[in-house]
């Protein structure tokens, strides 16, 4: 015993020399990463700077290194002061609309995608494969391609300026169905059979077994879909004309449009809103990222 511990002590001492050697490869790796992230962060820093100085200053000098004292003011304006005619599109209401769009879109898409994939994978439907490929081809037809017919449909259903008009047509695409189909196909057949013998019917199997198994997949889908929905610009611009239905991404533009008049555009306010618009997707990614990686890489259940 004593021999062994003496031995380990000896090796410990020899393996921990006071001088640490610099690993140049690590230094290079880190500097590349630091430079890269600075490069990506720079536009954000410029945005913050520009929203901290008076709007006049922005026009006069453009971006500079000077941080002004207008941040508070601009924040209040951005979040609580309305712009436009009706006075209903404050930053807060736009933020809420964006959340409704992002979450509604993500949740709707996950529910529909899971159910479609469930039907295709687990039920002996006559044209299941055909149905899947038809759904799959919608990947080739994103909303931008079918925007006029979609608008026509939404308009004739009287869903302009409603949340369902905003969300439902965006949901109609195959991404989630595709991912869930691939995932369900990797669930071992024996699990399905065990559940059948355990007396779990189709609904029970879906809720008790398939949904919990898909947790990580659902989280991954949620991130992708939330960010995708949050960043929608073209469709909300088409479908919402009421100012109280504006989303953040769409509303920011409305503010800088004041340039056309004789006023000075409210740069500070618009820039600050742009930053606010970035924050929720960033937080979603930060909180869900471990799930996200698991969902996309973990095959062992």
């Amino acid at each position: 015993m004593s021999d062994i511990s003496a031995d380990t002590l000896a090796t410990d001492r020899s393996s921990a020399p006071p001088k640490r050697r610099i690993k140049w490869s690590t230094v290079v790796d880190h500097s590349v990463l630091i430079v890269g992230s600075l490069f990506m962060l720079l536009p954000l820093v410029v945005l913050i700077q520009m929203s901290s100085v008076p709007d006049v200053e922005v026009i006069k000098t453009g971006p500079s290194l000077q941080i002004g004292d207008q941040l508070d003011d601009n924040f209040n304006k951005a979040m609580f002061q309305a712009s436009g005619f009706s006075g209903e599109n404050t930053g807060t209401s736009m933020l809420i609309n964006s959340f409704i769009l992002g979450i509604g879109f993500a949740v709707g898409k996950i529910i529909i995608g899971m159910m479609a994939a469930y039907a295709i994978v687990y039920f002996r439907l006559r044209f299941a494969t055909l149905a899947f490929w038809i759904i799959f081809t919608t990947l080739l037809l994103p909303l931008e391609v079918r925007i006029l017919p979609s608008y026509e449909v939404v308009q004739s259903l009287g869903m302009l300026n409603t949340y369902q008009g905003l969300i439902v047509p965006l949901i109609a695409s195959a991404t989630a169905t595709f991912f869930f189909r691939q995932f369900f196909r990797s669930v071992p057949e024996e699990l399905v059979e065990a559940a059948r013998i355990d007396g779990a019917g189709p609904v029970k199997f879906f809720i008790d077994i398939l949904v919990p198994l898909s947790q990580t997949m659902i989280a991954a889908m949620f991130i992708i879909m939330f960010v995708f929905g949050w960043n929608q610009y073209l469709w909300p611009t088409m479908i919402t004309t009421d100012e109280d239905m504006f989303t953040l991404v769409r509303g920011i533009k409305q503010i800088t449009q004041d340039l056309e008049g004789t006023n000075i555009p409210e740069y500070g306010r618009a820039n600050l809103l742009a930053i606010i618009a970035i924050i929720p997707p960033v937080f979603v990614v930060i909180f869900f990222q471990s799930w996200f990686v698991k969902g996309l890489t973990e095959s062992d259940k």
């Binding site: 059979e193 013998i197 355990d198 007396g199 779990a200 008790d208 077994i209 919990p212």
Partner: protein, 346 residues
């Protein structure tokens, strides 16, 4: 507890492949029956048909007094243990075991009681709150068993339950499963491709090949009186020696030697002798030439030839032999004769 009756059961897949030719047999109440055969012989298909996971193309399946052809698997009063255990990965051991009971609307107290009983029987008490991923292969196997026994079914179905375990654990689980089945007295059907498992566990063995039943019998019957050359070569390690020979009036001629047999037939035959029924004997009639000796500790296997035919001989560890000529004699009554073309026993 129930008797299982298969009458004229047949399975044809939609693509026309006949997985199981018309098959009939009974499994008496409380018996442990092993279906054994090479992969693709239809044994798993047969089991899955009994379980209700595959449709029955033709014939009638009874469990107890009930025809269950069109009964849902959940209502057949069966429990099944799968090769990959098929445990629900997101549920604890307790929930895994209880899931079937919960779905049948068993009361919470009853569930708790039955789970406690089962876990006690299987030594799972310390693991009830773990997830399957935190268990070893043998423990997972036990959980799968637990899930089967809490339901108190009329019939246990095992689909190669031990093939994912290492050899040592497999031997141990083999005994445990057999003991458990004895204790509970539940009729069981056990599918395996491992003939050792079949021999050691079965009350009765059903040997299958190419979608049909080759032989049904006790392990001893199947071993000592194989119904065909297929059974003879499949059961037993090393397999039975099978050599072409010529039968004439109660004798069989092989390698210029005449051996007495009980079967009276004439013409070309396939002669089968188990390796342990060939005995090195200085006055023996068969001129055996040993080429390779396999040392297995408790015994040895001698591989060599008689004339042009390869034979394997099983000898005890005390028998003193080396390579070279070793005359052999045959244990009386140990010769099986098979039809030289069809391979059926004569």
């Amino acid at each position: 507890m129930a008797q299982v009756t298969l009458s004229g059961i047949r399975k044809v897949y939609p693509n026309g492949f006949q997985a199981l030719t018309t098959t009939s047999f009974d499994i008496p109440d409380g018996e442990f029956t092993v279906l054994v055969g090479p992969s693709g012989c239809g044994k798993s298909t047969l089991l899955r048909m009994v379980a209700g996971l595959e449709d029955i193309t033709e014939g009638e399946l009874r469990i107890g007094d009930r025809v269950v052809n069109d009964v849902d698997p959940a209502d057949r009063d069966i429990a099944m243990v799968f090769q990959n255990y098929a445990l629900y990965p997101h549920m604890t051991v307790r929930k895994n075991i209880a899931y079937g009971l919960k779905n049948r609307g068993t009361s919470a107290e009853d569930i708790a009681k039955k789970v406690a009983q089962a876990s006690d029987m299987l030594g799972l008490d310390d693991y009830l709150d773990r997830k399957p991923s935190q268990l070893s292969g043998g423990q997972r196997q036990r959980v799968a068993m637990g899930r089967a026994i809490v339901r108190d079914p009329a019939l246990f179905l095992f689909d190669e339950p031990l093939s994912n375990l290492d050899a040592k654990l497999r031997n141990q689980m083999r005994i445990e499963i057999k003991a458990l089945q004895r204790r509970l007295g539940v009729t069981s059907i056990y599918v395996t491709h491992d003939q050792v498992e079949a021999m050691t566990m079965a009350d009765r063995i059903i040997v299958m090949n190419g979608g049909k039943v080759e032989q049904i019998g006790t392990p001893a019957e199947v071993y000592h009186a194989p119904a065909s050359t297929f059974v003879a070569s499949f059961m037993g390690a090393p397999p039975m020696n099978l050599v072409p020979a010529h039968a004439v009036a109660g004798m069989v001629r092989f390698a210029k030697t005449s051996l007495a047999v009980e079967t009276h037939t004439d013409g070309p035959v396939t002669m089968g002798i188990r390796p342990e029924d060939l005995i090195p004997d200085t006055s023996g009639p068969l001129p055996f030439d040993v080429q390779i000796i396999e040392e297995l500790g408790a015994h040895r296997l001698l591989h060599g030839v008689v004339g042009d035919e390869k034979l394997t001989v099983h000898v005890g560890k005390d028998t003193d032999v080396g390579t070279g000529p070793v005359p052999l004699s045959v244990k009386p009554g140990a010769i099986s004769l098979f039809h030289h073309e069809t391979g059926t026993r004569l």
